[in-house]
Symmetry: C2
Subunit: 207 residues, 2 copies
Amino acid sequence: MIQKYPSVLLENAVNEFAKLPGVGRKTALRLVLHMLRQDNKTVENFSSAILTLKNEVKYCKSCYNISDADICPICSNTSRDSSIVCVVENIKEVMAIENTSQFKGLYHVLGGIISPIDGIGPGDLQIESLVKRVAEGHIKEIILALSTTMEGDTTNFYIYKKLAPYNIKISMIARGISIGDEIEYADEVTLGRSIINRTLFNESFNL
Amino acid sequence: MIQKYPSVLLENAVNEFAKLPGVGRKTALRLVLHMLRQDNKTVENFSSAILTLKNEVKYCKSCYNISDADICPICSNTSRDSSIVCVVENIKEVMAIENTSQFKGLYHVLGGIISPIDGIGPGDLQIESLVKRVAEGHIKEIILALSTTMEGDTTNFYIYKKLAPYNIKISMIARGISIGDEIEYADEVTLGRSIINRTLFNESFNL
């Protein structure tokens, strides 16, 4: 369907919004018309918020998470266990894990995963800085928490090889049936993994 | 679920994106992180496109559709029938009707519909300008093409009353069963309307 826009300005704005992931041209038009109905101040705030973030964003010098300070609040929190570091793809995983309140160690944010198809190699990620952190000798355990995709597995394996020379524990988050899921409908790879990695009943509940 | 952001700049950007209709905080974060991965030029283009549109948008002086010129391409197209005017809520309906290639008249864009709950009265819409266009005497038919909601019906009725003194035909777009829909599953109001407004078989197909 060819959509003819009566205004180049409108078309430009729709094109820009349509570049957002998961936003098609119809949704983009809806969003642009919504913005057009807002007052000038609202549109200015929207427009400047993303530009300011892009221009002024900083990354924690230790874990490379997005941060306003040189060292992020998590890394500078002395009550956390700095001997355990959880390796994640980006800030979304940090926030998801923080929400569980189950992890009291620190993070290392790679900023992506190895993906040759997208032109992302190990050099584009914060892997050398992770090796450097480990080489300092204070870290006892690295938890790998990347997606279970081919790219995630590749990245896990690459990091594993890089860290193998250092005498530390390298673990990965448990894979298994989600809480609340029906076993009948679980995919066979997950179900198989959940049997191989079965846990002792009393340990799971601290009995 | 409380999401703690490690950066105020990030939080601001997420808050702004989350104001978009249909965008929740999780999607907003995803969109913001996507923008953060783009180069500076892309973010600048995105940011400026919406601001430029907001600051420089013009409306056609005749039909009040969004336009870059004083008179929009549809109104200035002399091959179109300027004696028939289709009244629509906004530019989305203009584009949808234009896509059908079934309408060769002009439009009148109200810029919304009467909705007391949102504080939108007749004075906020381009109704007086429609009456003025009709009063000029050249228009023979007005087609009302608003949504079949209570607000749409109210607006239709208001416009009908306003235009009643002028001796013109006032029609509304046909309501009936959508092409391809099963009659069994049609709602009863639509089905009832489709029977009342039945059309002659030979006329429907130009037999």
